[in-house]
């Protein structure tokens, strides 16, 4: 099994959703989460506050500087993510496709390097 990061990209240019559609996408995303928990693919997931809430820390030189974020100003931003476990890319992208449809956002699929398994780290 390989773990994949499914990044939810808030991209400009997608059709604007009505309030009802937004509420529906929350419901659908919740249902999708339940499904991948039940199927055993779910590892972790989270939605993020807007990029305006981000701060940047630079302690590479030991000076520990903190500045207002985000670090990279782009029109596209990471809005949330899932970490899933799948047999291969085809399974991962089939899951990503369902997630994208539920949350009405573009999803990027990216494999993790070999995952460090910590004893007892996962319930």
């Amino acid at each position: 099994m390989t773990q994949y990061l499914l990044s939810v990209i808030h991209a400009p240019g997608l059709p604007h959703l009505t309030e009802d559609e937004i509420q529906q996408s929350f419901v659908d995303t919740g249902a999708f989460n339940d499904e991948i928990v039940a199927s055993g693919h779910f590892v972790f997931a989270g939605g993020l506050e807007p990029v305006t809430a981000a701060s940047v820390v630079d302690n590479t030189q030991g000076a520990n500087v903190i500045t207002d974020g985000p670090y990279v100003e782009t029109k596209e931003a990471l809005g949330g993510f899932w970490v899933i476990e799948a047999a291969d890319l085809d399974e991962a992208r089939a899951i990503a496709a369902r997630g994208s449809f539920a949350c009405k956002n573009i999803v990027e699929v990216r494999p993790f390097q070999g995952v460090v398994e910590l004893e007892g780290a996962r319930a």
Binding site: T2, A87, D88, L89, D90, A92, V109, R110, P111, Q113
Partner: protein
Amino acid sequence: MTGSPSEPGPADLSARITEIVRTEHGRVVATLIRRLGDIDLAEDAAAEALLTALERWPGDGIPPNPGAWLTRTAGNKAIDRIRRESKRDAKHAEATMLMDAHQNDGPHEDTGPVTDDRLRLVFTCCHPALALDNRVALTLRLLGGLTVAEIANAFLVPETTMAQRITRSKQKIKAAKIPYRVPREEDLLTRLGGVMTVLYLIFNEGYLASSGTGVRVDLCTEAIRLTRQLTGLIEDPELGGLLALMLLTEARREARFVDGALVTLEHQDRSQWDPTLIDEGHTLVRRCLAINRPGPYQLQAAINAVHTDALDVSMTDWSQIVQLYDQLLVVQPSPVVELNRAVAVAELDGPEVALAITERLDLSTYHPWHVTRAELLRRLGRTGDATAAYDDALALVENQAERTHLLRRRDSL
């Protein structure tokens, strides 16, 4: 065996070995990838086996089943390497396990179309998660057995660029776990479409290279060979249509260039067309269309079949060609198809009607649009407009043979 009068000379033998090695490369590598689970290891082992073949076969003679010989030799090389490179117990155990599998697997067995390893490999190389250029490069390298230098040369990019492209693609396959298997039934047709795109792109790049001079025969031959192999592994009318389309196009190759200039269909010396390829193409078109699931490749092949049916351009059945384009527009609506249809309409209803269709199309960055306009304007006696249209086309064309042709057309106005 040596010394008999029918024995081929060293030059023939070397050509024969090269041919075998290229034909068998995909199968050997594909089988090894499944057994070893590692593309690089499989490739290296295959390369070593091929070198051994080149050393031994001229003296020992070509073995009765060269593919099996190459697979067995490459498998042994891989096991040797795993043993050599690591003395660790785990690796050693792995090698022993592989060796057992290798020996029990039997020599190069043909286990039927569905389990043919080459089919797994083609779907991995043409996976939609890889960029199109990378799919093309990987397919030619792993299935076609072309060297990185040959592929780089064919696509006019530096060898280091091509090497990087191939290496990155292989890394992505490994890191992202792009699966090594034939897609499930519900995905198969879509994924096969992606494979056909790659094969047709290889063919077209060879047929009328986007720059440089004329045809790059190697790419056409390679595309046909790979498509032919695939038709033996998977039954699909569109795949048959693609092969027919390639064969009927390839059949006209000899007639397409005279003294470094492109010769268009209507001016070609049809006695130079290859009758064997045309026969095979026609048979395929008939067989595919009889299944009654027409798709873009079959219809384009059918159009080419009508063209190659006419002994002389005046005998062309233009109404059938227009009908086929109408069908093609239904399954693949595109301005390029409409443009090609307009060319046939010109023969049926005259240049005025065809020009009206052409002018409606938004294709000003596509040089054949300017060429079509130029030819239609020429027939309508609008010399000044035609000259301008040839110039617009020339500004977009890099292929030398096509430039020569267009310059001649313009200057003969």
